[in-house]
Amino acid sequence: MSAAGPVSPRFAVLRPDWLLRGYSDRPGVLANWRTGEARPLAAAGAYVARACDGHTDFTSPIFLPKHQATLNLMLAEGLAEECAYGAELDPRQRFREAPNRYIQYTQWAVTGRCNLRCRHCYMDGPTGRYGELPHDVALGLVEQFVDANVQRLHLTGGEPLLRADFWELAGALTAQRIAIHQISTNGVLLDDEALQRLRDLEADPILHFSLDGVGTHDAMRGCDGAEAAAMSAIRRAVDAGFKVSVTSCLDGVTRDGMLPALDLLTDAGVRSWHVTAPQAIGCWTTASTGLSLDEQAAVCEPILRRWLALGRPMLVTLCGIYAGAPGEYVPPQEPLHRCTPDDLHCGALFDDTAYVMPNGRLIPCPRFIGTPFETALPSLLDVSLSEAWANEGLRAFLGVTKSQVLAHNEECAACDEFGECGAGCWAMAYAASGDVFGRDPVACDLWKSPHRRHLAGIAAGTA
């Protein structure tokens, strides 16, 4: 090596937004604490990232050409930057290994209370059924998220801004460099001061609002003035530079307000709009205004046509019948992955995603709120998140494969749509029949209906 002549030392540091984390099943993940972006690393990548500390010379023989190439890629992609010797890395950026498996994303319902009275609330918000944890206990959960290397959080509720200590909790998270990736809110309390406080935290969350149609929102939300407050908050959040997403619940009451909502949200500049039918959990189990899939499709088709006429202004999802990206039309490609019996039934999504209820209970998905599974799974008041994440019951839950579902469900096993439908969602199956391995009637109707193909044809200009 000395024959090659003297080589100038080369040092690098991670860029300030990037943290290096490790887990029992992953050698390293580079996580952006502002955006929530994750870059999983192989062993060689983690080795290089750990050396981006301002003190390790990359010209040392301890690095091979592949390591140099990896460093160059990290530099090119803005994960790291070259520096002079001795540049300091924020201690919070340094490699920190958690004893648990990878947890990328945690949804934390910080309160079960709400200032609206939504007819479809999946958490029984109007009754405050799940309450909220005391301040010191909630701060303890933040420490659990830190210890487990939770990378990003979605703060939800209830109405999260209703918590008196919301900003203290948010500040504790960002101080620990956990990304607040998303906040779901009804917008009533999201005034200009709140938006500024978010900016002051250096967080860049997606703000996710509910707007159940124009002229129909208040009826769904059970409070006069909720629609005006939501629209005002949406506009101010967009104007303040936040990424804004909106969900609209479609039923017999809100159906006439959906098409006008598209124009309003387009004008406001929202990034994505999701029209969805409420699910048969929580308050909605006793509702009588739900629409059939055919009725939902009849609402979605004119929305789709209007969205196309407006030039595809935002990302839209329409009741699972259609999903389209903003901008130029790109013909849909064959699915990258067709479901197989060996797949996890919930998919990879829930293998690294957790949901923490307002009472501290850890469940895989909010669709299981109110089911017997809710109490069968661990509470973070009893065990740490790192321990709970290894809980046998939770692992068994997350480890169920589609083959196990098919073994219980002859109809799905014989269905031609299985490759795309994947036997649906077990929470939906449970809500329908009390059997998680049963038939998911929502997915079944959706995938067997002609509506998906029909709306896709409209978008492609062939129908």
Binding site: G36, R39, G45, Y47, L64, T70
Partner: protein, 96 residues
């Protein structure tokens, strides 16, 4: 095969934090001393690695043998999360 030992040593180095600390401590000396020190570290760890092996690896002539992983595999398969709008619950959003 020396190349097997070289590959195995670097595989261990990439994942062994204590070994990494020892290896990084070599950087203050001359090139020849660093190479000699690294060979000694490898020997202590049970691998036979020569200065010639390291020269070959540094020149890239042994790179293909050392590791066939693509950069994609080294740095991961791209963004799992774009930082932009992402669905909450798989296929659809919940109301609320």
């Amino acid at each position: 095969m020396p190349i097997d030992d070289l590959k195995a040593f670097f595989t261990k180095l990439e994942t062994d934090a204590a070994l990494q600390e020892q290896a990084r401590a070599l950087q203050g000396s001359t090139d020849d001393e660093r190479v000699a020190g690294l060979c000694a570290l490898a020997a202590d760890a049970g691998f036979t690695v020569t200065p010639e092996d390291l020269s070959s690896a540094a020149a890239g002539t042994a790179a293909a043998e050392l590791d066939d992983e693509s950069l994609r595999a080294v740095v991961g398969g791209g963004c799992e999360v774009t930082g932009d709008i992402a669905p909450l619950f798989g296929r659809e959003f919940l109301g609320g």
